[in-house]
């Protein structure tokens, strides 16, 4: 730490924990419990129980008791910015909402003066990785914090320049930077998700095309910038991520990914992997939450592979590999979603067709039945009537009547009796040359 500035100069414990409007009190808002901003678990305001006396030993463990963490550690802030901004500004930035997170005492102690990603990486290397929920939250908080810090500093610098030029009152200037800087940070916090997601999705999509040789790098970067332009990310934040994206892009040109072990885990690259998976799945199945999906992906093989591969290779190269793998997953998931939609549509279609079919087939069957009944009723009537006539005519020795009876029967088959009258028969019978054709 710089000898001119001490930790106590930067840290503001009261603003974090003790004041009435401290970050901790605002987060808890009068309640006994709240959610850990990293792990999502329930945290208690105090280590002591509800009706505990002052001397009571702690009731809740350090895993369940809340404390306020500096997302970007004070030491790192001092190291990075103490030469550029004043002590007061550094103090304000370090203790701004965007750089604070309520978490468990145990985690905060374990994290010590590491950044979030360094802590996560250490846990991973020790074979004790944090859950995906924790990983995602910590990464996202770190990015938001860094964007907030960059934005705040940018605002401060611009304000100072403007102040100098227009001779603005120092007090007014301070009020302005406090207000705008603080607001920028918190607003950025909310907008980070949307902004970074747009940026990372676009990055992956475009860089995959570059890797596949379907787009050149310059156009890819232009499109990435264009896509991300609409999202709510500060210029400082954009530069932060764009820098990392450019690194990735450079590697894309090299088909052989060298195994580069780096000390620092590229947090942006990791967040890229995570957030692309998250965004891809989130809009596929509306009933699956982002965290749940990420947990499922990383805990079920492929995501973990991509993640660990990225970690093992390290650096932008690892991120590219991870990114392309995740892009493939995303693509498959998108296709699956389409398939699911089609399947649902298909189910509806089947139901529709079946209903229509059953009604129509029943209708046709009834009509067929009707025709059959009518036809055979006609047969029955003709046959009964014909035989009645034949028997009656036979009794009366009426040969013409017998012929008529036969006609009644034969007309069903569109035929008639050979000889309908005795005269007709006589004409035939008296002709010696006549031939009976049957």
């Amino acid at each position: 730490m710089n000898n001119d500035i001490t930790r106590q100069d930067i840290d503001d414990y009261n603003k974090r924990n003790a004041n009435k409007d401290s970050y901790k009190n605002r987060v808890f808002n009068g309640k006994r419990t709240t959610m850990d901003e990293y792990t999502g678990e329930k945290l208690f305001y105090s280590a002591k129980g509800k009706n505990a006396s002052v001397v009571q030993p702690r009731h809740f463990t350090t895993k369940k008791t809340a404390t306020i963490d500096h997302v970007v550690p004070v030491d790192q802030l001092k190291k990075q910015y103490s030469g550029n901004i004043s002590k007061e500004q550094l103090k304000r930035i370090a203790n701004s909402d965007f750089n604070l997170a309520v978490t468990a005492e145990a985690l905060n102690k374990s994290k010590s003066n590491m950044s979030n990603h360094e802590y996560l990486y250490r846990q991973l290397k020790n074979g004790n990785p944090e859950s995906l929920t924790t990983t995602y939250n910590m990464i996202q908080k770190e990015i938001s914090a860094k964007i907030g810090i960059s934005g705040d500093i940018a605002v401060t610098r611009v304000s100072e320049k403007v102040g100098k030029m227009s001779k603005v009152n120092k007090k007014d200037l301070k009020t302005f930077t406090d207000t705008v800087g603080g607001k920028t940070g918190s607003t950025l916090n909310r907008g980070t998700d949307a902004g970074l997601m747009t940026l990372t999705i676009s990055s992956i999509n475009n860089l995959t095309l570059v890797a596949a040789g379907k787009k050149d790098l310059d156009n890819a970067l232009k499109d990435i910038g264009h896509d991300a332009g609409g999202s709510f990310v500060s210029a400082a934040g954009l530069d932060l991520v764009k820098g990392a994206v450019s690194d990735i892009a450079k590697i894309c040109k090299n088909p052989k990914f060298a195994k580069i072990l780096q000390k620092d885990v590229p947090i942006v690259q990791i967040s890229t992997i995570i957030m692309v998976s998250n965004s891809a799945i989130r809009f596929i199945n509306d009933d699956i939450s982002g965290e749940e999906c990420l947990t499922e992906i990383l805990m079920n093989g492929v995501g973990a592979f991509a993640y660990s591969l990225g970690m093992a290779v390290g650096g932008p190269a690892g991120a590219v590999i991870g990114s392309i793998v995740v892009a493939q997953i995303s693509k498959s998931i998108l296709e699956y979603r389409q398939c699911q939609k089609l399947n649902e549509e298909k189910e509806q279609q089947i139901s529709c067709i079946v209903s229509e079919a059953l009604v129509e087939m029943e209708k046709q069957r009834k009509y067929l039945q009707q025709i059959i009944t009518q036809k055979y009723d006609r047969w029955d009537n003709a046959f009964d009537s014909g035989f009645e006539q034949i028997f009656a005519s036979a009794i009366e020795n009426d040969v013409d009547g017998i012929s008529n009876g036969l006609n009644t029967i034969l007309c069903i088959f569109n035929e008639r009796a050979k000889f309908e009258t005795i005269q007709e028969f006589n004409t035939f019978f008296d002709n010696a040359d006549s031939v009976l054709t049957l």
Partner: protein, 267 residues
């Protein structure tokens, strides 16, 4: 290695929970499939039974025709050829007797039509589902998919059964036709046989001298010839009326069912 072991642990609990759900869905699916297959089997049996009935009816007609031709008709021809030249031309109904043609309804057609058309979950879908939901989740997804397929199978079976019912109506028409023809031939043959007996005495008496036949005798000869001709015409009616209205309407109704089954098959 530890990374994978560590990361898999969390997924294990989730997997087990989802596996239980999958088993419940599988049970449901099995029941639905069972009902669908039962329905389809019932449809097959329905058609099979009626087809047997139709075959029996047509066999009865064919046998009756053969019997009349070989007895009464043969007797008539032998008798009357003594006094008249006879030109006996076998029609379709007689020719088909020698070919042993019976009901042409092909039940296999129904089976082909009724094959379900829903594609099973592809490997890719299973893999992607695994990514989304883990092994247990993929099983649930596949189980849900199979349940959906079973539901569709059930619906399809209803259409198959309906088509079977239409087949049965068409076959019933054949049965009705066959039974009536058989009954008609039997009644006609009774009259024909008696008439042959009567005219036999007359022809024995008068022989080839046609001018010797009085009016009453001529009337009896005429009647016998009319019976012979009528029976011949009825025997000439084919077992199945290929161009008749019932056949056409049966084909139309069956085609409607076929078209719907094809539509479902092609989805």
């Amino acid at each position: 290695m530890s990374l994978f072991v560590g990361s898999m642990l969390g997924g294990l609990v989730y997997t087990l929970a989802k596996t239980n759900e999958s088993m419940k869905i599988d049970e449901q699916t099995q029941k639905k499939y069972a009902r669908a297959f039962e329905k389809r089997a019932a449809a097959e049996q329905l058609v099979r039974n009626k087809q047997n009935e139709a075959n029996n009816s047509l066999t009865k007609v064919a046998n009756r025709k053969r019997a009349i031709l070989s007895t009464s008709m043969a007797e008539f021809l032998e008798l009357y050829e003594k006094i008249i030249k006879i030109n006996f031309i076998p029609g379709d109904g007689i020719l088909e007797l020698s070919q042993n043609v019976l009901a042409p309804v092909k039940y296999e057609q129904l089976r082909h039509m009724a094959n379900k058309a829903i594609s099973p979950m592809t490997d890719k879908e299973i893999v992607v589902s695994y990514l989304l939901k883990g092994i247990g989740g993929a099983m649930v997804d596949d189980s849900k998919r199979k349940l959906a397929m079973a539901n569709s199978e059930m619906k399809l079976s209803n259409v198959v059964y309906s088509q079977a019912e239409t087949f049965v109506v068409a076959l019933e028409a054949i049965v009705e036709r066959g039974n009536r023809l058989a009954k008609l031939l039997a009644k006609m043959n009774l009259l024909f046989s008696r008439s042959i007996k009567t005219s036999s005495e007359i022809i024995e008496k008068n022989g080839i001298h046609r001018n010797m036949y009085n009016l009453d005798e001529r009337q009896k000869i005429m009647t016998c010839i009319n019976f012979a001709d009528a029976i011949k015409k009825i025997i000439d009616v084919p077992l199945l009326d290929h161009n008749g209205e019932i056949t056409q309407e049966s084909l139309t109704a069956l085609q409607t069912g076929n078209d719907y089954l094809e539509k479902l098959k092609n989805l």
